[in-house]
Structures are given as structure tokens and as C-alpha cells.
Symmetry: C2
Amino acid sequence: MTSNVAVVGLGAMGLPMAARLAERFTVSGFDIAAERLALAAGHGVEPAPTAAAAVTGADAVLVAVRTGEQLHDLLFGEDGLASHLAPGAVVVLTSTVGTTGIDAIAAKLAEHGAHLVDAPLSGGPVRAGEGDLLIVVGAALEALAQAMPVLEQLSSTLSIVGDKPGDGQALKTVNQLLCGVHIAAAAEALALADALGLDRERTLEALTAGAANSFMLGNRGPRALQAHEEHGAEVLSRLDIFVKDLGIVGDAARAAHLAVPVAAAAEQLFLLGEAQGLGALDDSAVIRVVAPELRRTASRKEA
Amino acid sequence: MTSNVAVVGLGAMGLPMAARLAERFTVSGFDIAAERLALAAGHGVEPAPTAAAAVTGADAVLVAVRTGEQLHDLLFGEDGLASHLAPGAVVVLTSTVGTTGIDAIAAKLAEHGAHLVDAPLSGGPVRAGEGDLLIVVGAALEALAQAMPVLEQLSSTLSIVGDKPGDGQALKTVNQLLCGVHIAAAAEALALADALGLDRERTLEALTAGAANSFMLGNRGPRALQAHEEHGAEVLSRLDIFVKDLGIVGDAARAAHLAVPVAAAAEQLFLLGEAQGLGALDDSAVIRVVAPELRRTASRKEA
């Protein structure tokens, strides 16, 4: 039975996840920022003075870190969490950090009698708070069973994509290749439509009705058309997240000696966007890299 | 009233379109290959001895050519069709040839009292014969009205994307940018999934269920997974069509001084595929450019 859950890291994703979990479990939380801890306390999360204190006695420990190295340090660094974990505890990795080093972390955790559940997720803060995330999981059967109540509380779609840690990261890496390329392609397509004098709204409607459609075209396309307006589109997912995620894609492909030129070109567009100061904007703003401004849509018709 | 239709060019697409039109109209057809003409005659099409004879008295003339230059030659070259067209006839351009020169062709046709209807289509031969094509149209209102019975007989989806010839080509160009990139991205993604040791079928299922999905991933993905088998996937659309169409995309973007690096990378993959002898295979075979062979999917799980 999973009843005590710890959440280490109460950032943009960690806090709403902790709050959502507190509706069903006893949740202790920790964050180095005192104000995040106070915020969590207001959502039914028991604030712990240290990360070690938070995980003591927890059946499941949720961690949200930026890199595999950070995860390694958190678990095995000075006063690392690994030695504070309850016997048989599962550590649930919710971040997209890539596959590098995941095998080693899982093996080292096993030496401490704990298990890694590789469960990168997507959906953003709002959906996190509503238990509406999409999670892809790679984990051994027993660890998966123990983490399942926690994962179910957080997600509306749960895909078990493999039976070992790393499989979740691998699937998420491939997923992000497609998402990043599709957003960049939508940007190029809408910029080209504008340059050719087509009506942008009518074009988007025609494109999404046929073989050119993608989830991202339908979702980011309308927001890309707002990217040149004064306040731009609402930020649902930051542009610089794809700098990170397509970087992970590039690393993974390089390590496998696999050429992915289309993904590499998309990565360059997001890097250019970040360099141009668009990193904190909605990722659909990548259209501004190829089209710093839109031309008159009427130009062709007037010709 | 449109009642007499001519089809010039009875190739892979021209023949089934002519046969489909013959169910509703009087159709005369011409092709330089005698055996195509004979084949058409067996499907209710009246064979004409010359292209000029075929179009004489026709209210609508369907043409399927490879390039805008070929269209120009056909209409205005030696014994060109323009001088044989009935007054007020519409010339329906069904090919994807790009926007270059379309304005000039339309203007020259108008001097002969005829009108150009720019109606590039997609869907392939089988759907052509069933009237199940997708057509995007750019044409002036009157010409459009005259061509409409013909277009309706051929299509299940008809998008009027602009009010002048060239708008159809422009939309189709943007459409093909997305289709080509999505097929290439699906190839890279599935090759990466394989290299990371993921189960390919399960991966495809998880990817198509979420934000990574595209029409092409769902349609070409399963066929890409057959591309390494002895006979490969059934050819629904040839790989070298994207060499042509992404070439048109590149030309259009270059003429507009627009950078489309993602589309350009996809074009290079299709060019590499063609150079490697894959041009006549299904376009999903582009996966063989990045992954000449698939690795053992079991390798990661066995590790």
C-alpha cells in the first residue's frame, strides 16, 4: 500500500503535483525556496525542513529535476537521499532528462533497496493540478505496481512503454523530436503561406483538414499567428523547453550514431529563438525566427 | 452547363480521372502513348488523335503535367492548345507545379478567351477513380463555377483557398512542406526509437495517442516499419514525388527570401533516398536513409 508520498522540488510542476497528491495521500514536501514550501503548506502538503526529512518514511518519492546529473547528486551526493529512503521505496522521476546515466542510477538505488520508476510527463502546471497529465513509464513490474496509485492520481493517460528505467526517457525523447519538429514545421509553413499571400486563417483551416495535419499544427498554429501581436500568445509551454528537449534528442541520436537532420534543423531554430530573446515566450513564437514580421496577406490578391 | 470534358494526359492519375468523369460527362482523351489511349477507350473515354482534337468543343480541359513549363508549352507552344479551345473554356490544372509562371499563363489564356482554374489535387490513382480526391482551388468566381461540376465529380474534399490562379499552387506548396517534413520526422523518430531499444509498435501506438501525432505518423509510420522487409510497404505515393514537391517548396521559399531550414533538411533526406535508388518505393522508405537497417529492438532490454 502506498500512503506516504514525498515530493522533492515544489516548482512550477512540483507544487501542483504535490497539491493534487495531497487529496489522496499524506504528502511531505521540500523545496530550497522557503516561499514555495509555504505555498505548498497552504495546499495540504506537510513542509519538511530538509529533503532527507521529507523522504523519510515515504513509500514513493517524486522528484522533478532538470538533468540526470542533478538527480544523481540529489540521491547519491553529500547527505544524498538514497540513504534516507525507506526500504522498498520507489523514486519516481517525472522530468525529461534523457536516457544517459539512468541505468546506473537505477542500479545504485537498487543497492539501497529502492527502485527507480522512470515516468517523464507532459501537460503543464494546470493539468498537473487536475490529475490530467500524460505520463510514459519505464519500470520493473513490482516498482510499477507500487508507483501506480501515485501515477494514476496525476495522469489521465498512462503509457507503459517498457519494463526498465530509461524506457520512459527514451520514449519521451522520441516524442519530443516529433513535437519540436512539428512546431518548427508549422512555423515555416505559416510563414511561407504568408509570404505567398495566402489568407492565413483559411490556410490553417485547409491544412488541418488533410494529410498535412499534426496535433501541433492544430494546437500551436493559431497561437503562431498571434506571435507577432503586441502581447503574443499565452505561454502554455516555453520556447526554451525545446532548446533543452531537442538538445536531449541530439545527444541521444549522436550517442547512437544516428543522423537526424530534420530534428537538428528544428533545434537550430529554437536556439536562434532563445538567442533572440524569445526563450520565455510560448514555443509557437519560433515563427518569429523565420518571419520577424508577417507580410501583408493582401499583397498577392492585390497584385 | 459543362457537358463536354477533355483530359490531356492519361497517366497514373489522368486515366482514372478520365474514367470517373466519363460516368457523368462526354469525355474525350489524349495521350502520346497509344496503349494509354486504348486503355482509356475501355473506360468510356473517346480517344482523340491529337491533343488539339481532344480539346476542340470541350467546356473544361483537365491537364496533368509535371511542370509549369510543360503547361506553358502545351498551351502556347507549337500548335498549342490555346488556339483550339472553345470560347469561354476552362483549363483545369490538376498538378502540383508551384506558383512560378502561373499568373502569366492565366493572363495569356485570358487573351484566348479561356480561363485557368488552379486545382492541384492529392489522393492517388485509386481515390481518383472513386471521386475521393482532395482538391485545393484558386480561381476567379466565374471560372470556378464552370469547373465546379468537374471538380465535384473528382473530389470528396474541395477547399476554395483563394480567388486567383496560383492560390491553389501556393496552398499545395505549403501543404507539401508539412507532409514532407512530417514523413521525414516520422522516419527519424522511429529510427531513434529503434536505436534506443524501444519496441517499435508500442512506441508508434504511444506517439500517435498524444501531442506527437500527425496524420503522416499514423499513415506512414506503420509502413516505415515495413520498409526494411524484403518487399517493403505497398507504394501508395512514390518517394521521388517529395523530391519534386520539396523542390517546389525550396524554390518558393527562396524566391520569397524565406529560410525554411527544417523543410530543407527533409528535402535532403528525400534526395539522398532517391540517390540510393529508393525513388520508386513508397515515400515512407525514407527511413532507410537514416537507418539502412534496424537494430535489434531487444538489445536495450537484454542489456
